[in-house]
């Protein structure tokens, strides 16, 4: 796994003048305003800000799920504005791993099936994907739960399943949008530790969105968004 990552090209993130405007009737909501920033491969960046400030919008835009109205986004050489759906999907499949606040697991499927899904979508063959899914589950300490349906798991366990799923296709970037938002203190801590470990040991870029100042403090770099504007600072 480490091998693959060192071979992969660097997925540096660059946003220039990005705006995302929602129109609700006559009203225009600027979720992101003329935002520019760079994140290098292997960085750990926390994004914080009040509710409604545009954090999730930023995450979605970087993740290629949402398209900005203005500006340019380039990740690992891929210019989103020129990319077709197939290339953007490939990028989400191979370069990015999403971790959501509400887990977004398929509750009727088993833990293993959930981790297998991104590998199935990527068209990985059966034996390889089975091995890889188990590897990811082992990393999250959930191998013994592989055949349980996810709705039988605790919140902390579910979030670890979703990290395993994000990890399945050897991503260079993980975007976690308030991954601890639905967890208690202890489980939140475990999840944060696992994510930072992936960043440290596997050099995966970690973009962590959080309300929690204490959580944010763990990141060497904190982006604060207020009303679609970003302030960038390195934490002490």
């Amino acid at each position: 796994m480490t091998e693959v990552l060192t071979q992969a090209q660097l997925a540096d993130i660059s946003l220039v003048g990005v705006s995302r405007i929602y129109e609700l009737g006559d009203e225009k909501i600027h979720a992101l305003r003329d935002l520019s920033l760079e994140i290098r491969q292997g960085e750990f960046v926390a994004i914080k800000g009040p509710s409604g400030s545009g954090k999730s919008t930023l995450a979605n835009v970087i993740g290629g799920l949402d398209t900005p109205n203005e500006g340019k986004i380039v990740v690992g050489g891929l210019d989103f504005s020129k990319a077709k759906d197939k290339e953007l999907s490939h990028y989400r499949s191979k370069t990015i791993g999403f971790v959501f606040q509400s887990f977004n697991l398929q509750s009727h499927s088993t833990v293993l099936e959930n981790v297998l899904l991104p590998l199935v979508i990527a068209g990985i063959d059966k034996t390889t994907r089975m091995a890889r899914a188990k590897e990811c589950l082992e990393l999250m300490g959930l191998l013994d739960r592989a055949d349980q349906p996810t709705n039988k798991l605790s919140g902390g366990q579910r979030q670890r399943v979703s990290i395993a799923r994000a990890l399945a296709n050897w991503p260079q970037i993980i975007i976690a949008d308030e991954p601890t938002g639905n967890l208690d203190q202890t489980n939140g801590q475990i999840v944060i530790d696992l994510l930072t470990k992936l960043n440290r040991e596997l050099n995966i870029t970690l973009i962590l969105i959080t309300h929690d100042a204490d959580v944010a403090k763990k990141a060497p770099r904190i982006l604060e968004i207020v009303d679609g504007h970003v302030t960038d600072r390195m934490s002490a």
């Binding site: 993740g63 799920l65 197939k86 999907s89 977004n104 009727h108 899904l117 991104p118």
Partner: protein, 453 residues
């Protein structure tokens, strides 16, 4: 994404909503069941009718009939036999004057008797005994199995080499009629009995068949007249016995046969023979007769087959339309089910997009699911139709009495197997019904889908 993976995802999704899947399936099953049943029956009947025409030679036959006073005389018979492509010809004589046939205590009334040349122009399918040959000239007969069954209490084989008795009707005044049987005023005569030896039993339809020569001989017509004395009677066309003049003539010998069957070497040469009949004898094909028939006309056996199948096709098209409508209704069911599925799985679609599914992948997942519904509906329809058709076929089909009978192997090979194409149809219907829901699923905005509650 690989197709096999899409299939297993589709299967899992259908299983998740078992009740709804079943309900959707039921309508497809009903539609495909109806269509498969109609097609199976149509295909099997076509095949059976075609086989019958082939077996009896009707597929290669042309029947020539005379309408006027001029029959088909020997010279004409030889000219027709010489037309290129003609394999053989045989006159047909309708021996209309037999009223009933008896064997022991058993009597059969409803049959036709006739005479033909035993040269294979009409193929006889011999069940027991032997076919007539050109060496047979006397009262030897081929009896169809249904008549033989009546005469022998269902032991047709026992009739071989037995004598049966044919009873004439009151208009018979052929060579075996006697003067004292007849009322000279009305020219009605009492029945006479003629015995004939059965040489064979064939697969036919209420038919007693004599050698051609016997038919010609029996077609002689006599009439009786009173005369005080034979003294000085001198008429070359009549004889005089004991105060009775007997006029005798044989219309067949005098002017020819009323009808003649031609057997062509193959079905391809039939149009050529038809043209020759028209150019040489000014005959018209009955199928395109509009005005006066003229002295002769002919009928092509194949046209008869086409006519028979055409009538059948109208009926089966009607039934097919009903089946088609129920398939159409089931398509609406599939559309509805798939639209509900896109709604239910909106969030899931968002997740799939977030972890790398292209919108084509999403479209395919839903399309495959709809196709699978159609396919399974078709398969179940085929299973039910097979069970019912084979069940009914083995109970009622394969009767040995009738020439056109439908048996289970024919039902399967000529009916069910070709009709299983309906599975392709239901699958295509599934795919088409899936187009709209799948397109809608693929168009969903990933971010919106992820927020969907």
């Amino acid at each position: 994404m690989k197709l096999t993976d899409q299939l297993s995802i589709a299967r899992r999704n259908l299983k998740r909503q078992k009740g709804r899947t079943r309900l959707t399936l039921i309508s497809i099953v009903i539609g495909s069941f109806a269509v498969i049943c109609v097609l199976t029956i149509t295909f099997t009947a076509n095949k059976t009718i075609n086989d019958y025409f082939e077996k009896t030679g009707l597929l290669y036959s042309i029947d020539v009939s005379s309408t006027g006073s001029n029959g088909i005389n020997e010279a004409m018979v030889s000219k027709i036999a010489a037309i290129p492509g003609v394999q053989s010809v045989s006159p047909n004589i309708d021996m209309w004057f037999y009223e009933s046939v008896k064997f022991g205590d058993n009597v059969a009334n409803s049959f036709q008797s006739g005479a033909e040349a035993a040269n294979g122009t009409t193929k006889q399918i011999i069940a027991f005994g032997r076919d007539l040959t050109e060496a047979d000239t006397g009262a030897t007969v081929l009896v169809s199995k249904d008549i033989a069954n009546v005469l022998t209490d269902k032991n047709p084989e026992s009739l071989i080499n037995q004598q049966i008795t044919l009873v004439t009707n009151s208009y018979y005044n052929g060579p075996d009629q006697k003067r004292e049987n007849c009322d000279l005023q009305t020219m009605e005569c009492k029945s006479v009995e003629i015995t004939a030896t059965v040489v064979g039993v064939n697969d036919g339809d209420r038919m007693i068949l004599f050698p051609l020569q016997f038919g010609i001989d029996q077609s002689a017509v006599r009439s009786f007249g009173e005369i005080p004395t034979c003294q000085g009677f001198n008429d070359p066309n009549a004889t005089c016995e004991d105060g009775t003049i007997i006029f005798s003539n044989n219309p067949i010998k005098d002017s020819g046969f009323y009808s003649l069957r031609i057997r062509a070497e193959s079905s391809e040469v039939i149009p050529g023979i038809g043209e020759a009949l028209t150019s040489q004898f000014n005959m018209r094909n009955q199928a395109d007769l509009e005005t006066d028939a003229g002295d002769y006309y002919f009928m092509v056996g194949q046209d008869l087959l086409k006519e028979a199948l055409k009538a059948f096709r109208v009926v089966s098209l009607g039934l097919l339309a009903i089946g088609g409508i129920s398939l159409l209704v089931s398509a609406i069911g599939v559309i509805n089910t798939m639209l509900m599925a896109t709604l239910e799985r909106t969030r899931e679609i968002g997740v799939m997009r977030a972890i790398g599914a292209t919108n084509k992948d999403v479209k395919r997942i839903f399309t495959v699911e709809a196709a699978l519904l159609g396919f399974m509906g078709g398969v179940w329809g085929l299973l039910f139709a097979s069970a019912i058709i084979i069940g009914l076929g083995s109970r009622f089909g394969g009767s040995t009495d009738s020439l056109v009978s439908i048996d289970v192997p024919t039902l399967i090979t000529s009916g069910l197997i070709p009709s299983s194409i309906v599975i392709v149809l239901t699958t295509v219907i599934g795919i088409l019904s899936g187009v709209l829901p799948a397109r809608r699923a693929a168009k969903l905005d990933p971010v919106e889908s992820l927020r969907y509650e």
